[in-house]
């Protein structure tokens, strides 16, 4: 058993990471952290008490974050839950850019837990 989380460079990404860490702690399992941001994670961003497998995107093959996550899920059969951050999007936003989260929800081989950014954190 293990929990996977896809972390994007946004408040949703940070919320997803927090929820996934809490989930992994509660279930006493490992955490598969797929980093979809454009930087590599520093050590202090990764919780120490968990067994974390960190995956960074690299190269043209990983250009599409959805494929990157699905590939990792296929490689890690022990994962049985995927945590994602979600937010509401404007109509214009939906036309202009596709949603990574929506594509992942529809194509994930394992159940997906979606979390929303709490109102308080949005202003913080």
């Amino acid at each position: 058993m293990s929990v996977a989380v896809a972390v994007t460079d946004s408040p949703e990404g940070r919320t997803a990471l927090e929820s996934a860490v809490a989930e992994a702690r509660a279930l006493k399992t490992g955490l598969l952290l797929v980093n979809l941001t454009l930087h590599d994670f520093a050590d202090e961003e990764i919780p120490r008490d968990l067994e974390v497998t960190l995956i960074n995107r690299s190269g043209r093959r990983d250009r599409d974050p959805v494929t990157a996550v699905l590939d990792e899920l296929a490689d890690h059969a022990e994962v049985d839950r995927l945590v994602l951050g979600v937010r509401s999007r404007s109509r214009v936003g939906k036309v202009l850019l596709g949603s990574v989260t929506q594509r992942l929800i529809l194509r994930s081989p394992v159940p997906v837990l979606t979390v929303r950014v709490p109102e308080s954190a949005k202003r913080g």
Partner: protein, 475 residues
Amino acid sequence: MSSSPYPHRQRFDLPHAGSGRPVHRLGVIATVATFGGLLFGYDTGVVNGALEPLSQDFGLTALSEGMVVASLMIGAAFGAVFGGRVADASGRRRTILLLAGIFIIGTLGCVLAPGAEFLIGSRFVLGLAVGGASATVPVYLGEIAPSEKRGSFVTRNELMIVAGQLAAFIINAVIFNVWGHVDSIWRWMLLVALLPAIALLVGMIFQPESPRWLISKGRTEEALAVLKKVRSPERAEAEVAEVTHLASEDAKQSTGGLTDLGTRWVLRLVIIGAGLGFFQQLTGINSVMYYGTQLLTNAGLDSGVAIIGNIANGVFSLAGISLGMFLLNKLPRRVMFLTGYGLIAVFHTLIALTAVVVPPGPGQAWTVLVFLVLFVFSMQGTVGPLTWLMLSEIFPMKIRSFAMGICVFVLWIMNAVVAQFFPPLIEAMGMTATFGMFAGFAVIAFIFLYTLLPETKDKDLAEFEREFKAKYGRK
């Protein structure tokens, strides 16, 4: 055309690059490869001078004159995008060989063109080679040069581009003044470009592939063999590790794509970068580089004198670029950009006023020329080289390749737009309104950069990224 495509790299302690044979060999490689830059300059500059006899031959209108010039830039926009892809897939050396072939075919197509349509098509093909060379040659030079000389090798290519334009101006002036009575003299002006194209093709056959590209394809043995030709033996062995590291960083650079523009601070950076390319072309620098001779003729000079006067534009362009390269390491980027756009606005305004205040005739033409060269000098001394440097350093590493691709594409397309619409605008609105418009764009550019442009000088990329993200990352 960027002064250093690979700033902010991890440093390796390496033995001295060597002396004697390897250094000599590197010199040969640089000379051959920068023929690509020279061709870039010559092919873009040659219409300035060739256009008038050509226009008479084919009976061109202002609009079709624009098309003859702009078709090359459209080709270059696509050549710049796809040239990089081809160079990644089949190697730098083979790509440059291919480009040399396209230079030759394109040149012959232009020289033998039976009519304007065929000429426009051939110029598009030639543009593919020009854009491809602009994307591939600096990469090849940067990859084969030892790290301590990378900057100066790439700079050399940039100087060759401007030198190529200047050479085109001078050769045009000589050909036109000596053999001006010959029919279709413009064909001979274009034909001259065949010589450096052949030199590039033949020369590149004997040059080695980029070691970094070989290593990125897992061909380490071959890479070591190349390094042994261009470095001292100790350095060659030591450098394999550095190059392997650099090759893995290159892979990282092509990670990001369209989806990453969903991140607000990344989108903001890409908009700034695209704006840099957009406004660099709207300074009108290339309207001088392509139509300088015609401008002087319009203002009241004889064709033979105008084509000679136009050489001043090339000289000041080269002098400006040389000064700009020196200033890049001295001045903060923002100061240099804002000063540059300020000066550009001033000189454009002066050109616009000259056309009103000074009566038409040689007096007007010479006054215009003075302000034109001052504009060219201040543009090439600041905004010209600085734009390329900025583009190479503002993007987070993982999206750099994609983001630069967008910005360079925008830059070439704007180059084409200016080239296409300059002659009809001059015809319809006259010089005062056209240059007044350029002055207006320079003011808009000033405001755009003043509000949005972050400072990057003396900052390491990671530090800059953190600061920028902290400021604009929140939604």
